[in-house]
Every structure is written in C-alpha cells, then in structure tokens.
C-alpha cells in the first residue's frame, strides 16, 4: 500500500475576512512499513495537513491517493474519547472485530487493565492518551496517524509507548505518519523526517534514516542527532 500526498495549496478564510495561506505545495509519498515524521513549528499547518490526508477536509487544492480499503488508526492531539462509554467500549466501538485475547493483551501492554470499565472523565490525561493509542492499535490499521501522541506523558511511560509504537509498526506492514516536536521521538521512530517551514508550511528538508529502527544504538542516535543539529533548519 502507498500513500501519496500532493497538496498544491490550502487557504482558509478567517472570521474577520481575508484569506490566509495555510499550506504551500507539499508533496511526499509513504510506503507500507515506513514511518514518516512531520516536524515543524507550532501552528505551521501540520494538523490541517493531517485532516486533509484523513479525508476530513476536502477543501484544498491537490490530490491525496490513499487506498480506499485502508483501515485508519488515528491518535488525535486530544484523546477524543466518548465520555459516555467505558474505556473498553471506546476501543470496541472503533474496532468491533477485535478478539477478547487481543484486547486483553493490548490493555496489558498499555497498562490499562484496571481501567477497562472506567469512564474517560475518571481518567488522567496520560491514561486517556493511552486509551486513544489502544483504540488506534486495536483497529489493526494500514495507515496509522499519530498527532503528538506522547505529549504530556512522563519520560518512562513515553519511552514505553514509543517502544510499543515501534513494535506495532515492525509487526505489520503499516504506513505511519507521526507529528511530533521531539527530535528524540523522531529519530527513534522515523524512517524519513520531513522538516516543515512556518506557515504556509512546505517541506524544507527531507532527512532519511537508513539504519533499521531495531538496530539504532545510542551511539548511532547520538550521531544522527549531531548531524541534524548541524543542518540549517529553522523549525528545530
């Protein structure tokens, strides 16, 4: 499977009148098994781009080629859980086909077992984010979109969830698109990093990481980090 993004422009009209250019031409493609990482300054139009890729916003110029049968798993910036359904129901509603064993395993890895029957209003933000991750994983997605999924989590948990994402991405041929501010997350998870400019966003630089995810040692990561630091990028 392959995702092709070819946005030639996106403007939006503000309430005060006047049009604003949100996205400049952006073009990239993503294969199954690849993790693309979008890194850019706040407010540069990343979320707008994700909405266009997901088909939520059709008012743009350009073309998105996404296999129509591709199942999408999405982790929004806010958890977006149904407050009136329990944690387990939230996951099952998005992924009705999931088996009991698989669901239990997912809840175990994300440490959500004790919270199955809780309502989202009873959870901390960190827990709610984990439920959102569980929901996205549960659908066994072909296209996984993660919009800052590890923000506001403590380092230990963020690290564990990052490993979870890495193992999921490794276990199935899934196209992954990750939006993050963390260079560390980007170089640990990504195969290709796209650095975006401030609004209107365009890709300033594409940095491929050729070493397979599982084989990136701390030393290699340090070297990549140093290389990135040397690049003249405004969005770091």
């Amino acid at each position: 499977m392959r995702l092709e993004v070819d946005i030639t422009g996106k403007t939006f009209e503000s309430a005060a009148g006047g049009t604003h250019e949100v996205l400049a031409p952006i073009k990239f493609a993503l294969q199954s098994g690849e993790v693309g990482v979008l890194i850019g300054p706040s407010g540069c139009g990343k979320s707008t781009m994700l909405r266009i890729i997901l088909g939520l916003d059709r008012d743009f110029e350009g073309h998105i080629a996404r296999p129509p049968e591709a199942r999408i798993g999405m982790v929004f910036q806010e958890p977006r859980l149904l407050p009136w359904r329990s944690v387990e129901q939230n996951v099952r509603l998005a992924a009705p086909g999931i088996g009991d064993a698989k669901l239990s395993e997912l809840f175990r890895t994300l440490e959500l077992e004790q919270h199955r029957s809780h309502f989202p209003g009873e959870l901390s933000l960190g827990l709610a984010r984990r439920v959102a991750l569980a929901r996205a994983f549960a659908v066994e997605p072909d296209l996984l979109v993660l919009d800052e999924p590890l923000a506001s989590l403590d380092d230990a948990l963020a690290g564990r969830l990052r490993d979870e994402i890495a193992s999921l991405v490794g276990s199935r041929p899934v196209m992954t698109l990750l939006v993050t501010h963390s260079i560390d997350d980007a170089i640990r998870l990504g195969d290709r990093l796209f650095f975006l400019s401030p609004r209107p966003a365009h890709i300033v630089r594409e940095v491929p990481i050729s070493i397979p995810r599982a084989e990136r040692s701390e030393a290699e990561l340090g070297r990549i980090r140093a290389e990135l630091a040397a690049l003249p990028l405004e969005s770091k």
Partner: protein, 245 residues
Amino acid sequence: MLRLLSMALLLAIWWTAALFVGGAKLPSPPAVLNVIIAEASSGALFLHLGATLARVALSFVLAMSLGSAIGYLMGRVKLADRLGDPWLILLLNLPALVVIVLAYIWAGLTEAAAIAAIAINKLPTAVVTLREGTRALDRSLDEMATVFAMPRWRAFRHVVLPQLAPYIAASARSGLSLVWKIVLVAELLGRPNGVGFEIGVAFQLFDTPRLLAYSLTFAAVVLVIETALVQPFEARATRWRPRAA
C-alpha cells in the same frame, strides 16, 4: 419530611379557608375525598383518567418523535433550518386554543383531531430544543467516528445520541408539562370523556367538589409519572458525568 410538612401546611390552609368561605365555593378536604372515593368506586374516575392519559401518551410520543427528527434535521442541514424557521416561529407563537379549535373545525370532533392538535402544540418546542442540541454536537467526535469508519447507525447511537440525551430529557420534561395543560382544554372543547370533559361538566353545574376531585387526582398522577418515569430517565442519560460535589 420537609415535603410532608409543607403538604400538611397546604392542607391546613385549605381546610381553614373552606371553613370561612363555605362548602359551595371551597369544599373541605374530606368533602373532596368523598367525591374521589365515590367516583373511583363507580369506575368513572379511572375511565376518564385513562382516556386522558392515553391522549397524553399518544400526542406526546407523536410530538417528541416528529419534533426530535425535525429538530435534528434543522440542526444538521442549513437549508432545512432556513426553510423551517418561519414555520417554527409561527407554530411557537400560535395560541393552543387556536390550534385546537381549528383542528376540531377541519377534522371534526374526533379523537384524531384532538391528538393532532395537542401534538402540534408541543411539536415546536421539541424542534427548538433538539435543534440547539444538534448545533452543540461535538464535531471533533464526529471526525473521530469518520476516521475510524464507524457505520452511520453505530456512530449515531454511540456518538450522537448520548450528546442529545440531555436535550431530549429536557424537552420531554417541559413537553410533558405542556401536554398536561393542553390536553384538558382539548377535552373540554370537543371530547365526550376525559378529565377535561368532567371538569367542563363540573363547571357548568358549579360543582366545585367534583372539579377539585378530578383536578387533584390528575395532579397526583402527573406527579407520580414525573418522579417515576421522567426523572430516572434523566438520571440514567447523564450517569457518565462525574458527580457534582
């Protein structure tokens, strides 16, 4: 306990007033109770109450389901809102009496005319409440349902309906109180049975004990339905909300 005390106080005031005013204008509580017992043992009370309740139930269900559907449509579709709004304003401001009289003239003194007239009175408030509820729907959850490719019905049941439930409950409560009031007028003007009809008869005969007997039993039934049906539904619809301290 406090409620009982307050009820007892009301009863005491009524009794004292009855002593001063005299039995013809304001009968004492026992006199009214006697009429209630007499009417109940003859079966007439239950017959009339039953007829009224059936009309309330039918017109209430009709107005709620139709009004909710129209309100949802108007909240979702801008064109429907534009087209429907003038009608809505007209219906909202049309006096209940006008609707009832016109219904009886056009459709005859029939059961269908009565029920339709009551339903039309309740309809616009249901539409307005549900339209507000639909406008307040959380779009980010709609997007979530779209991204996860939830089928339409599942998304409606689990994403939309729970958000509308408080509006439906509010509309049901206010609607029920409206229907209680209007049903008696409709019965008084054109039905041969029901509490409204009995009150009409009592009015013509200036039979105050009978009038009070019927209206008080009716009020009691309304109270029971409110506490036994409407309030539990509201509590259930909002059970996921964290409790207020």
